[in-house]
Amino acid sequence: MAKVNPRRTPMKEQLPQERRRNFDEVPYGYTPEEAISEAQRCLQCKKPSCVNGCPVQVDIPGFIAQIAQGAFWEAMKIMKRTNVLPAICGRVCPQEIQCEGACILGKKMEPVAIGNLERFIADWEAMQSECVMCEIQPATGKKVAVIGAGPAGLTVAGDLRKLGHDVTIFEALHKPGGVLMYGIPEFRLPKAVVEREVNFLLSMGVRLNLNYVVGKLKTVDDLLEEFDAVFIGTGAGLPLFMNIPGENSLGIYSANEYLTRSNLMKAYLFPRYDTPIVRGRHVAVIGGGNVAMDAARTALRLGTERSILIYRRSRDEMPARAAEIHHAEEEGVEFQLLTNPVRYIVKDDGWVQEVECIRMELGEPDASGRRRPVPIPGSEFRIPVDTVVVAIGNSPNPLIPQTTPGLETTRWGTIVIDPMTGRTTKKGVFAGGDIVTGAATVILAMGAGRVAAQSIEEYLRTGKWDEIKK
């Protein structure tokens, strides 16, 4: 066997000093030569552990083997058997804890850059004059409603459509994609990529109703009269605030609002686009997750002088992906770690002027297993700001649970399901993604969609409905 290069083929990217002021995507993607050379590092394990690390069970050695031979079309065919959203997954999955984290090469050297290869093959296909079509089973005559066009809903729709079912997606916003469209910024996931993958689903015959708020126009019960099964993938859309003094003053955003303005409404192109956004000089972002990183990096691109990230624990506890933290730091985001806001100082005209913070230290581990941050008395200090983005998480959107009798929820407002099947407490109704788990990741939502799709298929075929065991 030829000797394996211990280092992966790097993906070229925009330099930090350039990219911090533009919304173009950061990495450029592999050239075909780079992709082939990276693909040749794969050992083609007989029992590939990478596949087990993938929530949607992509045949990773299979598609990589084709890339290694330059057979890109074949590689894409293999990809689409299990994943119809590869351009998205290749960009936003946390591969380091999934497929790449399980790669055997990773024990002694750098694991195969599976995410980069996935992205490459999808982007390569987009450049071709036609695309790889999925095989669609003959029509079954069964109808499925999918509520929410985010990662979970899109996965369910694609899987069930392939099996020959008639699938209709209902989406509340004016664009499909959910968090892929409103949440993740252009420089991490270009909106054209999302549109491309959604259009592929539509070309498979999935129907899409935009601007449709289930719970207001029709309820889940209404849908059950028309459809044989319903999947709820409405996500965790309700922003949390800290409930500290001054938080409703002008210039203080939820991350959802800040990112929705910039991403979905393209406020960064104001006044060409009509939706405005405050272009603050000093922006503070509260939180340490991927969303906080996205907001802090968006602030830079909107022209801020200082983008300050305030997080109450230390770097080790940050829930954001290492790569995102690294990118933010490279671009000049300032980190105020072990720091927590306690109140906002507000000007007479209602605008935020300063954020008062307190220093924290780490105490005993809490329920999450992370060491609990404890305030240090007397350590208060102030940071001048004119814009604040609160990125401390979201809770599930309550609209569907509130309007659906028989659908049981937890005390956090998430929908109760059987995790093996995605079945809810209501017959014919399935759920998955953030509405079940609370705010998590794109790929976990897609994995939940995959599980639900399989059990919806079984239910449609057999009509058998077992109550959830509790």
Partner: protein, 287 residues
């Protein structure tokens, strides 16, 4: 795409559209609103449902041209289409037989309170309506409001219709003459709703106001519409838009409405400039 079936100019800068929106028309109830987007570059604009004719699939909106987006909307004609329409959103008005109710509206609040007034009347209430405008040329929907009220009082700030005063003056008179008011509804400019609420609080008249904060998605996702009610933060889009007027922090609402004053002015200037340039081109062609 949603087609505009009919267009009417009600007063200077105030327009009424009938939209082809059968599904929303069936579901919309008094007090609810819709969000629309004129085109691909457009903002999401929240507007109260002014009326529906479900059998014909018609949804009615009335809007005042206050900025670029509403001005652009106002340039559309019957047969044109708006890109997106979403609704009905928000909680409907609580309609019951309260006894005697007063419906107070200012300016473009009048078309918004109209369906509420009608529903209250149908529920068996004695309805006294008070609508106020800056001058008589701006009076809206007087006949419609008269039809759904037991008594209608129309006031103008300058007295040009023969009845000078603010809506609060008129409300004060109704209270003075000994009318026992069981509930008050107020829709209009924030300052008006604040003054009405202050007045009714003195007389312990339960008062419902319909708030109009800045909104974005309007489905509970972004929190820009947060308002303080009784010291608690609420999202007007999903918890409202109607709240107990005696508990609302109106000053905060007024401040938050000014968040984008600078940007709104900039957008309007660009819009007017491009419209004038287009006009000049048209004139030249005629010559």
């Amino acid at each position: 795409m949603v087609k505009i079936l009919n267009k009417q100019v009600l007063a200077t800068g105030i327009k009424r559209f009938e939209l082809d929106a059968p599904e929303i028309a069936w579901r919309a109830q008094p007090g609810q609103f819709v969000v629309l987007r004129v085109n691909e570059e457009g903002e999401r604009i929240p507007l109260t449902v002014a009326d529906t004719r479900p059998e014909e699939g018609v949804l009615v909106i009335v809007f005042q041209e206050v900025g670029k987006s509403t001005a652009l909307l106002g340039t559309l004609e019957p047969g044109d289409a708006i890109m997106d329409l979403i609704g009905p959103l928000g909680k409907p008005t609580e309609i019951e037989r309260f006894g005697t109710v007063v419906c107070v509206a200012g300016g473009v609040g009048t078309p918004e309170i109209y369906p509420v007034t009608r529903a209250l009347r149908q529920a068996g209430n004695k309805v006294i309506s008070i609508i106020g405008f800056r001058n008589k040329d701006l009076i809206l929907m007087e006949e419609e409001m008269r039809r759904v009220s037991d008594e209608l009082i129309v006031a103008t700030d300058d007295g040009s219709n023969g009845n000078k005063g603010l809506v609060t003056d008129m409300l004060q008179q109704v209270i003075y003459r000994g009318e026992k008011i069981d509930r008050c509804f107020a829709v209009g400019p924030v300052i008006m709703m604040k003054m009405v609420s202050l007045l009714t609080k003195k007389y312990s008249i339960p008062t419902i106001v319909s708030l109009n904060p800045i909104m974005l998605d309007a489905t509970g996702m972004c929190g820009v519409c947060r308002v303080e009610v009784g010291g608690e933060t609420k999202f007007a889009c999903v918890d409202g838009p109607e709240f107990d007027g005696h508990k609302v922090n109106f000053d905060l609402l007024m401040a938050r409405l000014k968040t984008y004053v600078k940007e709104e002015r900039q957008a309007m200037e660009i819009f007017l400039k491009s419209r004038n340039e287009n006009c000049r081109c048209a004139n030249r062609k005629e010559k």
